[in-house]
Amino acid sequence: MSAIVQCSDVWKRYGKPARGIKELLVGRRKVVESRYAREWALQDVSFEIERGSAFGIVGHNGTGKSTLLSLLLGTILPDKGDISVNGRVASLLELGAGFHPDLTGRENIFLYGSILGMSLAEIRAALNSIIDFSELEGAVDNPIRTYSNGMIARLGFSTIIHAPVDILLIDEVLAVGDSRFKEKCRRYLHEFKARQGTLVIVSHEMETLADMCDSGMCMNMGQVVVKGEIHKVLAQYQELMKFSNARKKGEVV
């Protein structure tokens, strides 16, 4: 009952649409054989996440982690199975998707906030707090094409955490700004959890996951290998890494 996210038997396959009139006319493309070209991006994935907890997802590149986050976010739909998400979701998949380089920091906060689903009134109310958190007071009225990548990421992060959100999806972007700001973000995410916010984190940094998460799962080739308590999952993942490294060496020899 307290599960805020529930995935049951989710399958996802990417279609291969024709990419232009030429391909429509010429017909099928070559079939590529590789682990990235498997038929199902996700196979029979089931898990649930408790409200107020952090859930870590580990696995090789191209194993379906980001697909899973997109499904939770709702930008793509599953082919089979059910996903129920009982709250407002925002993703830190790409900080500042929708930022425009020629607008000032302040103008971008409004645009990005609205894109994230905030109302104008909510943005106005949060504006000062957003600017404070980003520590960009002096630069907020300059166009963001003059910002460094770190500053843009700060602005994006500060905006997103002020959106009224129950579930935050985080994909490899805990590396925001300098180490001091990173620490600030880490503290914020712990606070968010303490306020019954839910985190879903995809990362390759074992320490981050061990620090933030309560439970998690390890994926391989679109399937869940193991799920449960985070340390168990991480241990299993390291085993898997060793195994696949060994196999790769074997192939070379």
């Binding site: 990417y14 976010l73 998949l93 425009h100 607008l103 645009l111 609205s114 894109i115 109302s119």
Partner: protein, 255 residues
């Protein structure tokens, strides 16, 4: 539901504001560019048809401009909106927003431009011996709504189909320049040979442009043409809703 609608319009407002700010901030002439495009086109056709080919027509410059302004709104918004999903792939893939808002943003942005240019057009009409009508106060907003209702569904369908077939972008470019000459923008329908007249009676774009002229030059809405446009608007709206329902949820994985 109410919240969703309010948020849709707030986001639309911010998107249009963004486009306007970007357009005006980054250029020296700013607002004047809203006028430059239709005036430049009109000038070219004035030289070509009035001075070189010597079309016998009273007040040809005003005739040209009254057709050119709505046409520029139409073409600019359609050609921009066609790319609105492909050019904003990160928004479509990484944020769960109401996807119908993106092409509407382009159409609305061009609409605001058109509205900015209207006073200049009115002054031009006045100084070339035309009349300014009080009835414009309701006729012009009505015509703007009509054009919006005709253009937005088409823009939405083009934007969606461009995600499936990339060539749509190029086809739209070619199609619009052909339609420009198949629509009475630079010539009056009366000059068309009777054998081809039935096409112009059928063409909704001809009805739209003719109606704009009727309003701007004579201060009256042509009711049969208006109803013809409304019918077309309803048809394309149904088409757009069906297409959107079928395809919008798949955009995230196609881009």
């Amino acid at each position: 539901m109410n919240d969703r609608i309010r948020h849709f319009f707030e986001l639309l407002y911010l998107l249009v504001q963004k486009d306007l700010k970007v357009r005006y901030k980054s250029s020296v002439l700013g607002y004047l560019w809203a006028l430059a495009n239709p005036f430049a086109f009109a000038l070219v056709y004035f030289v070509a048809f009035k001075i070189i080919m010597r079309v016998q027509m009273h007040n040809y410059s005003v005739f040209l401009l009254t057709g050119m302004f709505p046409w520029v709104w139409l073409t600019n918004s359609l050609s921009q909106a066609t790319g609105s999903y492909r050019n904003n792939a990160s928004l479509v893939k990484k944020v769960n927003l109401d996807r119908a808002v993106l092409p509407l943003g382009n159409v609305a942005h061009e609409m605001v431009h058109f509205c900015f240019a209207l006073p200049v057009l009115a002054i031009f009409i006045y100084f070339t011996g035309g009349e300014m009508y009080g009835a414009w106060l309701w006729q012009i907003p009505l015509m703007i709504l009509l054009q919006l209702a005709m253009v937005y569904p088409v823009a939405l369908v083009l934007a969606l189909s461009n995600v499936y077939i990339h060539d749509v972008e190029y086809l739209v470019g070619i199609g619009l320049s052909m339609l420009f000459f198949l629509t009475p923008v630079v010539y009056p329908v009366t000059m068309v040979p009777t054998a081809y007249r039935h096409y112009f009676e059928w063409s909704p774009l001809a009805a739209l442009i003719e109606n704009w002229r009727s309003v701007l030059l004579h201060g009256s809405v042509n009711m049969p043409m208006f109803m013809h446009c409304v019918t077309v608007a309803i048809i394309v709206a149904v088409l757009a809703v069906v297409t959107y329902r079928k395809t919008a949820s798949k955009l995230g994985e196609l881009l």
